[in-house]
């Protein structure tokens, strides 16, 4: 079976499942099945079949499991949102269409990984700008400056910015990898590269601290720093960088804890939300109650106690940050663990792409994108189940939020592109055929470029 056929085979049950979900929510609401519920289902079948056909043309050899997982996650998200509020679901559906369009556009324009590598500095600067633009022009919502309003559309540029920065760092680390691993001097027995090669580490640290200070955004800051640290570790294989990074981050975070109220509040709530269960601890306490109400099997789609009579959700930000709690209540432990496993399989497939890659850039790109994706899922799920302090970020593909959906489809497209490249290379090596005229991404090139940009 070819990769794409396999993709289709997995896509179909995922979409049937979601259509059933819509039907279930709809029947619970109006006690009868009307075409409206099936229209939603039909729409998403069509959308993902188009995405699948796009992959057939644009990324024939790409991993066949990532798209079905995405389909399941994003349509499950929309079922949950639809269950909460129909207008919100319509908005989300539009963003899903936009996301899939962007997905195909990225696959179409980035036909070649070279495009990314060659424009790494433009991508880096664009990423930086997107990450910081809201600090200047943004408006503050829920205590974080993350939003940019363009007409009626609210957008969170940092969502896209952080992905672009991962791409940039993957490319840049290929440039300087050799130097980072070849140490030239030792201080107290620790091999240290020249100071300027510690610069990337210090830069990402400074950036993440700036995110926390200026945008009051713990989540993006942690995510960004964690993903780039993972990337640095993969690139160098040195725990030293990781340790220095963690020490730096902890030092910075401790300082911020004492300097900034919002950091303190988050941590205090995590330590003991029961001190003020109807005030500061309300959100997390209600999240735990929702999960407890779900139990092992859940209360069933559409049957959870999620909204008040006024239509307001009991847990504030249920459709974004806390959507996992809603899933936990309605689908139970079984459904919630299912979601966690979907993320896990996604991460597993992502690292597989990375491990299979023979060259540095695709390898680092896949590792970086997978890390930031996996870390985001971990941080928000861990936050709402009170495993770690809560950071307000979205659950990839599931939460309501246009920028998040679009950003994650860009991430998926790049990951599939990397996968397609890696698999193509592999099959070429297995059966030597006509050269496709692509340049190598081997270390040779990296070192060559290092001399161009680095030293």
């Amino acid at each position: 079976m070819t990769f794409r056929t396999r993709e289709l085979v997995f896509l179909i049950p995922a979409l049937i499942l979601t259509t059933l979900g819509f039907a279930l929510v709809y029947t619970h609401r109006s006690a009868e099945l009307t075409p409206a519920s099936l229209v939603y289902g039909g729409l998403f079948v069509a959308l993902f079949v188009i995405a699948h056909l796009g992959c057939r043309v644009l990324a024939k050899q790409a991993d066949p499991y990532l798209l079905p997982i995405t389909a399941l996650l994003s349509t499950l998200g929309i079922v949950m949102i639809y269950r909460l509020d129909e207008t919100m679901a319509q908005q989300q559906a539009i963003w899903l269409v936009v996301g899939l369009a962007v997905f195909l556009l990225v696959l179409a324009f980035v036909r070649n990984l070279n495009v990314l590598r060659d424009h790494r500095f433009i991508i880096g600067i664009a990423g930086l700008l997107l990450l910081l633009v809201t600090a200047v022009f943004g408006r503050e919502i829920n205590g974080a400056r993350l939003w940019l309003a363009i007409g009626p559309v609210h957008f969170q540029p940092p969502e896209i910015g952080k992905i672009l920065l991962v791409v940039f760092f993957a490319a840049y680390l290929v440039d300087i990898r050799e130097v980072l691993t070849v140490s030239t001097r030792r201080i107290l027995g620790v091999p240290l590269p020249p100071f300027r090669y510690l610069a990337p580490l210090l830069t990402i640290w400074a950036l993440s601290m700036a995110l926390m200070v200026f945008m009051k955004d713990l989540g993006t800051s942690l995510l960004f720093f964690g993903a780039l640290l993972a990337l640095l570790y993969v690139a160098t294989g040195r725990l030293f960088y990781v340790l220095v990074g963690i020490v730096l981050f902890l030092a910075g975070a401790t300082l911020l804890y004492y300097l900034f109220q919002h950091v303190q509040v988050r941590v205090d709530i995590w330590l003991d939300p029961w001190k003020d269960p109807s005030g500061k601890g309300y959100q997390i306490v209600q999240s735990l109650f929702a999960l407890a109400a779900g139990g092992l099997f859940g209360r069933g789609l559409g049957q959870g106690y999620l909204t008040l009579q006024s239509g307001e959700t009991i847990i504030p930000a249920l459709e974004t940050d806390f959507i996992f709690s809603a899933i936990g209540e309605e689908l139970g432990l079984i459904g919630a663990v299912g979601i966690i496993l979907l993320y896990f399989i996604f991460v597993y497939r992502g690292f597989r792409i990375s491990i299979k890659a023979r060259e540095d850039f695709p390898r680092l790109l896949a590792a970086g994108l997978t890390s930031i994706f996996g870390l985001q899922a971990f941080l928000i799920v861990g936050g709402v189940i009170k495993l770690i302090p809560l950071t307000g970020i979205t659950l990839p593909f599931v939460s309501k939020g246009g920028s998040s959906i679009v950003a994650n489809f860009i991430l998926l497209a790049l990951l599939l592109r990397a996968s397609d490249y890696v698999n193509r290379k592999e099959s070429l090596q297995r059966s030597p055929g006509p050269e496709e005229g692509r340049p190598d991404f081997g270390n040779k090139v990296a070192v060559g470029q290092m001399t161009r940009y680095g030293a």
Binding site: F289, A336, V347
Partner: protein
């Protein structure tokens, strides 16, 4: 590079494993505790989806109903404060009391066959209906009793002596259960304790109304007969304690029937001392003192002191219901019901039937004997004495033309203020259908204050108004 990638994947594996472990802990292990956490309002939400059963009086008046808003049901009490002492409340904030608490399993449809249909309702996603309750309360009697008592602190109990069915139970002050959530703090700090059902939970010195017990004991023990002659000089001394008649009256030569009708303390002190502490205590116990009344709602134990600790002075005081004797209006109604019912006290009850929504009877209360303190003969003799109270004694203001009323007054002296006025009565004397006990706190004599209240309640119960 492969090694660091594999390690990184291992870290992610451990992180996701931690998520699953923690999630399992929250959703399975900690869930029971979280569900009953006081901050958790989800159980309330579950309850609000249940179409709680209606509560209806014996004469078909709706006492507790629901109104539906969306998928939720809200409790309403159409009779307002009139029913609160026994109906209680079903508050989402403050829990339940009274019948709403005791019969919650029936009302919310959790017990018996309705508990099974609950699952079916859940599957079909339709509101679950609880069982309805039909009470023994007769709202016309209840209203008459509430009107007769008015805004005086006290209580009225009316029951059917033949079955124990409670016909009316009034306590004042009381509260409007519809406004409970707003009034809660105020109600709890009110020194007049409006949340207390004085009829069953209020303990008071009974005064002379307790002479029903003493006379019953004396007659049954053959210590006296109605025409045993006594001499009254206005006082009698027992163990150094000087007993006086109420109002300082002196009655001279009289028989026991007159002593009962006029409520002569000196004679009862003599009779009580002659019977002794042990006999009095035994009869008090036989009438239900020292036990919580066997009825579904809350009630206080009436108190007769331990005979071992009583000297003659104590016995003399106890003989006319003073000293350390304490009782509830419900208990006094039960004592009178023994006289009315041939010596037998029936278990009081307030819920007659539990019905499903097709009005099919699921459960029915059958009357049961609680105690038999007197023989039918003694009861008949005592009944004659009680008739004498109304025809020519202290309780003449309870008399109703055309109906023979039997009763006993009580004027319980308290440390500060006016005495508590008591009256316990039943009618018609030859075929008792209703027994009434009235208590009005700090209001005067039983004959002048409590007996007229009893008269109105009896009239209502016999359909004379």
């Amino acid at each position: 590079m492969d090694k660091s990638l594999r390690r990184l994947f291992l870290i992610f594996t451990l992180m996701f494993l931690a998520l699953i472990v923690r999630l399992t802990y929250v959703q399975v292990w900690a869930a029971p505790g979280l569900k009953v956490n006081p901050s958790n309002t989800r159980a309330i939400e579950e309850e609000m989806k249940v179409d709680r059963g209606a509560i209806i009086s014996a004469d078909g008046v709706e006492l507790a109903v629901n109104h539906q808003q969306g998928e939720y049901f809200f409790r309403e009490y159409p009779q307002g404060d009139l029913t609160s002492p026994w109906l209680g409340y079903n508050s989402l904030q403050y829990g339940r009391a009274g019948i709403e608490r005791v019969y919650n399993e029936d009302l919310s449809g959790q017990s018996g066959i309705l508990g099974l249909t609950n699952y079916w309702d859940q599957i079909l996603n339709r509101p679950h209906r609880g069982a309805d309750l039909k009470l023994t309360i007769n709202m016309s009697v209840q209203k008459a009793a509430a009107n007769a008592l008015g805004n005086r602190k006290g209580a009225v109990v009316a029951l059917d002596p033949r079955t124990g069915a409670v016909l009316a139970m009034v306590s004042y002050p009381r509260y409007d259960p519809n406004k409970l959530d707003d009034l809660w703090k105020q109600l709890n700090s009110d020194p007049d304790t409006p949340l207390l059902n004085r009829a069953a939970q209020g303990l008071y010195p009974p005064g002379s109304v307790f002479k029903m017990v003493v006379a019953g004991a004396a007659l049954q023990e053959n210590a006296v007969s109605p025409d045993t002659i006594f001499q009254d000089t206005g006082t009698v001394t027992a163990g150094g304690y000087v007993v006086r008649n109420y109002g300082g009256n002196v009655y001279g030569s009289h028989d026991f029937a007159q002593a009962f009708a006029k409520s002569i303390n000196t004679t009862f002190a003599k009779v009580g001392v002659a019977l002794g502490a042990d006999t009095l205590a035994r009869y008090a116990g036989d009438f239900g003192f020292g036990e919580t009344p066997p009825w579904p709602l809350a009630g206080a134990k009436s108190v007769f002191p331990d005979p071992g600790t009583m000297d003659k002075a104590h016995v003399a005081q106890a003989s006319f219901g003073q000293g350390e004797v304490l009782t509830t209006p419900l208990e006094m109604a039960l004592v009178a019901s023994a006289v009315a019912n041939g010596g037998k006290i029936m278990k009081p009850y307030i819920v007659d039937q539990v019905l499903d929504y097709h009005q099919k009877v699921l459960e029915e209360t059958h009357s049961q004997t609680w105690m038999q303190p007197l023989t039918p003969e003694t009861a008949a003799t005592l009944k004659q004495l009680m008739i004498g109270v109304v025809t020519g004694g202290t309780g003449t203001s309870a008399a109703i033309s055309g109906v023979q009323v039997a009763g006993k007054t009580g004027t319980a002296e308290v440390e500060n203020g006016e005495p508590h006025a008591w009256f316990a009565a039943f009618a018609p004397a030859n075929d008792p259908q209703v027994v009434v006990a009235v208590l009005v706190e700090n209001s005067g004599t039983g004959g002048s204050v409590a007996a007229p209240v009893a008269r109105q309640v009896i009239s209502a119960a016999l359909g004379l108004q």
